[in-house]
């Protein structure tokens, strides 16, 4: 018999993240590197352990190998427990009719048995594509206080932004009476953050009903939440006023990384009271050589910097050669940029090799003034993981490259 848990977290990590283009060619979105040494999933996982939630199910589906290896036994997040801890939950075959996760609600439905093992009062549903620090325990307390069947974390956005989010329309006491997905004329500015707390017994009932409905898309936003509202369940909005960033697009990924360089970075990674944990790459301290010039940049362990780095995040194990210039860019882990190359306003994938005197992207202002923006890339040049750019080769701004250019 396992210990009864107050709350179990279910982290939806199966999304492909197709708007991140070539970066998610080989890895699922939650496994995308962030902030020099982290991955996106480190944020919800660290939030869980910092909130006292020690039982987390991670629902994977797309390109799970990297993510599975990264999560491992959960030890970096202190989630290697005898009772609970982190469990990776891929879709599986039952009898003759195994199936993929059809939607977010179906993914939880397929894992009802996992949740029931812990007999929880509450289930916290999280997604693996946001950068934020949040104490989920306060939200669970709020759910209990309101005697709610479900609470949805919301962020106050501008009226203009509200058209791009799922919006909660609430009474004065924050009770939700209506949910609108991307409304053209928003009545409220309370945008859903994709963080839900459900009372488990109620949730189970609605998941089972939803599964029985052949017309359902098995999605929380489209089906479960509207169904619960229609049935008159007590549903509340939980206002969150901290930093929260969706990093679902290349531009927002770049922006969120660059915000780490601000003097009072809104997502203070050095805060010892709410640490963000990551699997440690075990690299030595980074080396900045006598030829290097590093300004307004974040550099992680294992890097070797011999060139100029400005306004950039250099992830662990990267190499920047002599005479090389890196500006306004994200250089993901273990990438090598050889001598004399210029990389500007770009995102360079992991383990990619850029040859001598190659030219990637263009200065930010120049690109913005002269180039037609790409649908996904905007004005940035974006290189996939594990590719090679030969000596002297050029990758234009707004270009997205996922093969060698020799």
């Amino acid at each position: 018999m396992r210990t009864k848990k107050r709350a179990v977290a279910m982290l939806l990590a199966g999304g492909q993240g197709s708007r991140l283009g070539v970066l998610t060619k080989k890895v699922a979105k939650p496994a995308i590197p962030f902030g020099g040494k982290y991955r996106i999933i480190d944020f919800p996982l660290s939030n869980c352990i910092n909130s006292g939630i020690d039982t987390v199910g991670v629902l994977t589906q797309y390109m799970p190998l990297d993510l599975n290896g990264y999560i491992g036994n959960g030890q970096p997040w202190d989630l290697d427990r005898n009772d609970g801890g982190v469990s990776v939950l891929p879709p599986y075959v039952r009898g003759k009719d195994g199936e993929w996760y059809k939607g977010t609600a179906n993914a939880i439905y397929q894992n009802i048995r996992f949740i029931e093992r812990y007999d929880p009062e509450y289930v916290v549903v999280l997604s693996g594509d946001h950068i934020y620090k949040m104490d989920y325990s306060k939200m669970i307390d709020y759910t209990e206080e309101k005697n709610a069947a479900c609470t949805i974390a919301v962020l106050n956005v501008t009226l203009e932004e509200a058209t791009r989010f799922g919006i909660m329309n609430t009474e004065e006491d924050d009770r939700i009476y209506e949910f609108e997905e991307k409304p053209a004329h928003p009545k409220s500015t309370k945008a859903s953050m994709g963080v839900y707390v459900f009372e488990w017994k109620k949730m189970k009932k609605y998941l089972e009903e939803d599964e029985a409905d052949p017309n359902s898309e098995n999605d929380f936003g489209k089906n479960i939440i509207p169904n619960m509202l229609a049935a008159g369940e007590r549903m509340y909005a939980y206002e969150f006023d901290g930093y929260w960033k969706d990093v679902g697009t290349l531009q927002s990924l770049w922006d969120a990384n660059m915000e780490l360089l601000l003097p009072d970075s809104p997502i203070n990674l050095g805060d010892n009271t709410w640490k963000i944990y990551a699997r440690n790459p075990n690299e030595m301290p980074h080396y900045t050589s006598g030829h290097a010039k590093v300004k307004n940049a974040m550099v992680s362990e294992g890097c070797r910097i011999h060139g100029t780095v400005e306004n950039s995040i250099i992830f662990h194990g990267a190499y920047v050669g002599r005479g090389t210039v890196v500006k306004d860019s994200l250089i993901l882990p273990n990438t090598v940029i050889e001598d004399g190359a210029v990389v500007e306003y770009s995102i360079i994938g992991q383990n990619t090799h850029i040859g001598k005197n190659a030219k990637i992207g263009a200065p930010k202002e120049v690109a913005e003034a002269t180039v037609t923006p790409g649908k996904m890339t905007g004005y940035m040049a974006v290189l996939a993981d594990d590719i090679t750019i030969g000596d002297g080769q050029v990758v234009a701004p707004a270009e997205m490259l996922d093969e060698d250019r020799l």
């Binding site: 040494k37 301290p285 080396y287 900045t288 290097a292 590093v294 307004n296 974040m298």
Partner: protein, 372 residues
Amino acid sequence: MKDTLGLIFAYQNDELMKSLTQKRALSSIPFGGRYRVVDFALSNLVNSGVTKVGIITRNNYQSLMDHLGSGKEWDLSRKNGGMYILPPFAQNSGYRGKMEALRNAENFIRKSTEEYVILSSADVIFNMTFDDALRFHKEKGADITLIYKKGVVKQFDGGAGSGCIIETNGDERVTDIAVNPVIGGEVVKRGLEQIIIGRSLLESLINECTSHNMYSLHRDVLQRHLNDLKIYGYEYDGYCAKIDSIASYYAANMDLLDGDIRSALFYQDDQIFTKIRDEAPTLYTNSAEVTNSLIADGCVIEGTVENSILFRGVHVRKGAVIRNSIIMQDCEIQEKSELQYAITDKDVVIRENRKLFGYNLYPMVLAKGSVV
């Protein structure tokens, strides 16, 4: 190397390190930006496939235990084997020699089933696996194999002496062992205090020493048995540095600014493992000027850093200048202060406008937590 047991001496030459060992053993002195001296001995054993390691401590080992934890960072948190910390029995105030220290570990050694033992002193910075040395030991039918480094011994003021200098014949059989002889600038074979020995032989030697009130590994075992035991020398030709004084500690750290030495120690398949601290990457602001320096995660650099080593969580404020220095974990160097040839232990604060200068061969050491 499943048939090999590791034993690390974690207390060598503590008294020579002055304030750096006031509250810790030499083996737990921070080194190279994020490591502790013991990480090298421990990682070498682990990289050789040794899965059971005893760590012999003497005193001031709280910091060492805190660093080692359950041993999981070295993959030594095991169901079978793993890491064992072997503190002294309470009535012992110290060990007169390694054989006396080993007597303390006698139970641990006797209960082990491994055929060989590697005795490793945790005061050497090097990256070596023992596989080839053990093969050599078996091929030669050796009783004891001493791993040595051939070269000119760099001697530093205040150090422990020239160490164990051996001579070997054409077959690498050891023909002479001298302890701390006076030597000049000649090329010698210096023992690295990394020794391979059969476990049952080690047990009987411990017994012999105990019953005759002998305690020195060098004098009472190696020198006495030079002729009746087959003692061989095995050459290690990579980088190594012995830490036995402030000056040698400083020099070994500064060696890391040399790319070849860094490669030899760290950019290898065999990694050096250490305790994890979960720091954010280091942030350089617009006013940062950093050259030829080794910098760990978690630092914020607003000032000038040259030819220096910064440990995790150091804050260098605007206008501060650090040259040729070693700045340990969580130090704060405030506005317009200046440091040259300084070693600041953990949590040191250098207040605004303070200027402190040591000298190349005699770096200034600031004790843990001091505020200048």
